[in-house]
């Protein structure tokens, strides 16, 4: 009986094989065949580098400028937003910048908002296209969604906490137009679906849904998008961290005892050891 798993581990033992690149001391830093310091530094944008590192392909400046703009859309300097709140708290408690800003960024790895929501948005749009191809209509897709969500419509990419509508979609449509992009099939589908939702259910597309449609049209997979969008709230967290790191210590939204509403067990005596047996 062969043990391919063991053979594979022994083959990889003490060895790194990279398709990405690496440092050859005294020679160069290679990145996907490029000499990084001579051919990439000063020649490509940071977002071209990010996409090169994730996808292995040097994408167009046009696409990477779109991506950069979408990052700006996701980074608001408002500490009421969940991830930013953590940045502000961290700044006020003098956590180091890296820890505080990364803690906030990590909090955005959420299914409700942030990069963690994009794979589900993309899967929904792919499923929507497939459902329509197999003869379903928008309302039937919505009914399916409602049936699997205890009677509530909860469509990834087509609702938003706190507000209805999403000003970032219009901003990104403008960016796309200025950069010369034309609407692809997923964007057209997503906007048609939004029209139906708006007219019938008072919900509309959000930035996650729009970004997902655009990136599907660019040929990206949900897994790849999750990788290259993982830090897209960071600039907002940085703003909130920085503001409170430079104010008095512990000066972010101080809580009094009454700001916590205790709902638990009343004050009680510890049971005897015997009672716990």
């Amino acid at each position: 009986m062969t043990n391919k798993a063991l053979e594979k581990m022994r083959h990889h033992h003490g060895l790194i094989q990279s398709t990405k690149g690496g440092w050859r001391i005294g020679e160069a830093v290679y990145n996907h065949g490029f000499n990084m310091l001579e051919e990439l530094v000063g020649e490509v944008s940071y977002f071209q580098l990010v996409l090169l590192n994730v996808t292995g392909e040097l994408k167009s400046k046009q696409l990477c400028d779109w991506l950069e703009a979408s990052y700006i859309c996701m980074s608001w300097p408002d500490p009421r937003i969940w991830c930013n709140y953590i940045g502000a708290l961290s700044g006020a408690s003098r956590t180091t910048p890296a820890a505080g800003i990364l803690a906030g960024t990590l909090a955005s790895d959420s299914k409700m908002y942030g990069p963690g929501s994009l794979p589900n948005c993309m899967k929904f749009l792919k499923g929507l296209k497939s459902n329509l191809s197999s003869g379903m209509n928008f309302e039937e897709v919505i009914r399916l969604n409602r049936d699997s969500n205890d009677g509530k419509i909860n469509i990834p990419g087509f609702s938003r906490p706190i507000a209805k509508g999403d000003e970032r979609v219009g901003a990104m449509q403008r960016v796309g137009k200025n950069l010369g992009f034309t609407k692809g099939s997923f964007e057209i589908l997503a906007l048609e679906f939004e029209t139906h939702l708006k007219n019938n259910h008072d919900e509309s597309i959000n930035i996650g849904g729009y970004t997902s449609a655009f990136l599907l049209d660019q040929g990206f997979t949900p897994e790849t998008v999750y990788e290259f969008t993982s830090t897209r709230v960071t600039a907002g967290v940085q703003a909130c961290y920085s503001e409170y790191a430079n104010k008095a210590k512990a000066d972010f939204l101080p809580l009094s005892i009454e700001d916590i509403a205790y709902t638990g067990q009343p004050v009680r005596q510890l049971p005897t050891k015997k009672a716990l047996k």
Binding site: M1, T2, N3, K4, A5, L6, K8, M9, G14, L15, I16, Q17, S18, T19, G21, G22, R24, I25, Y30, G33, T95, T96, A98, A99, L106, P161, I162, A163, K164, G165, D166, E167, G170, A171, R174, S204, P254, L255, S256, I257, E258, D259, I260, A261, Y262, T263, G264, Q265, P266, V267, R268, Q269, L270, P271, K273, L276, K277
Partner: protein, 271 residues
């Protein structure tokens, strides 16, 4: 100017944050200072004098003090997982952070993040919890039939189903041994017993219960929910992650391997 199409929802947000875990009693003259603190209704000072760490862990996460038998099993579980070895993903991350003189405060969170995945990490515990909870309600023969046929000429690679895996072609002997030990305890561990029955049927396949699967099955038997089980796993492994990170902190970089260039192959750049 973008057209403003967005509007507020009618969500009603709480004026204060509710919690059932901790009560603080304000100082009579300063509402920002707590005069007394109660955990799930018990005075924390009394808890400190009369209880141990497992008591406070269970009280925090579950809401009541554990019964003695539950506590014994939970204590064994936490100790059994308190060190998964220096080769464990979280241990390696901790050592790497330590040797790189990362801020000491960050070593534990870094290691816990690195070991949060679905391969041997905390996500593996919740995946196993969900899977074992579902499978253990079905007939064992039907469950096993889902996995057949087993390869006849090759030993298996990776996961059979969440909670059961193979390590480099073989079942994990430590998980196997721990499983047997836990079944000797005085509590009725019916899910863990079911896992043991499945494992018996998997004899000679190379598959067996994984460490994540065992952790999940014990938690199911202790009636600890899946999210709490994941967090308990993180707390259980934390001491070793901290220890490995601290052991390396301040040591010279040369104390750990840094692959030479002949062991670091760059595709398209090899001689």
């Amino acid at each position: 100017m973008t057209t403003k199409n967005e509007r507020k929802r009618d969500d009603v947000f709480a004026e204060s944050t509710p919690t059932a875990i901790c009560l603080e009693v304000a100082n009579p003259t300063n509402e920002y200072i707590a005069q007394k603190r109660y955990l799930r209704g018990y005075d924390v000072e009394s808890l400190a004098l009369n209880c141990d760490f497992i008591d406070s862990l269970y009280l925090n996460l579950v809401g009541e003090l554990p019964e003695e038998k539950v506590k014994d099993v939970l204590n064994q579980l936490m100790v059994a997982y308190s060190n998964l070895g220096a080769r464990y993903v979280g241990s390696r991350a901790a050592m790497n952070a330590g040797i790189g003189r990362t801020n000491i405060s960050h070593i534990l969170p870094i290691a816990l993040c690195a070991s949060s995945g679905s391969v041997d990490g905390s996500q593996a515990v919740i995946d196993a919890y969900i899977n074992i909870s579902k499978l253990s309600k079905a007939d064992i023969t039907d469950v096993l039939n889902q996995f057949k046929p087993f390869p006849e000429n090759d030993l298996p690679v990776g996961e059979l189903t969440a909670g059961f895996n193979s390590l480099a072609g073989n079942r994990d002997p430590i998980a196997n041994s721990l499983l047997k030990q836990f079944l000797k305890c005085s509590l009725d561990l019916s899910t863990t017993n079911w896992c043991s029955n499945i494992q018996d049927k998997l004899e000679n396949t190379g598959f067996g219960i994984s460490l994540g699967g065992l952790f999940a099955s014990i938690c199911i038997d202790l009636k600890i929910d899946k999210k709490t089980s994941l967090v308990l796993f993180q707390i259980a492994i934390a001491p070793s992650l901290a220890a490995f990170g601290l052991e390396k902190y301040g040591k010279p970089l040369t104390e750990m391997p840094f692959l030479s260039e002949d062991k670091y192959k760059i595709e398209g750049k090899e001689d």
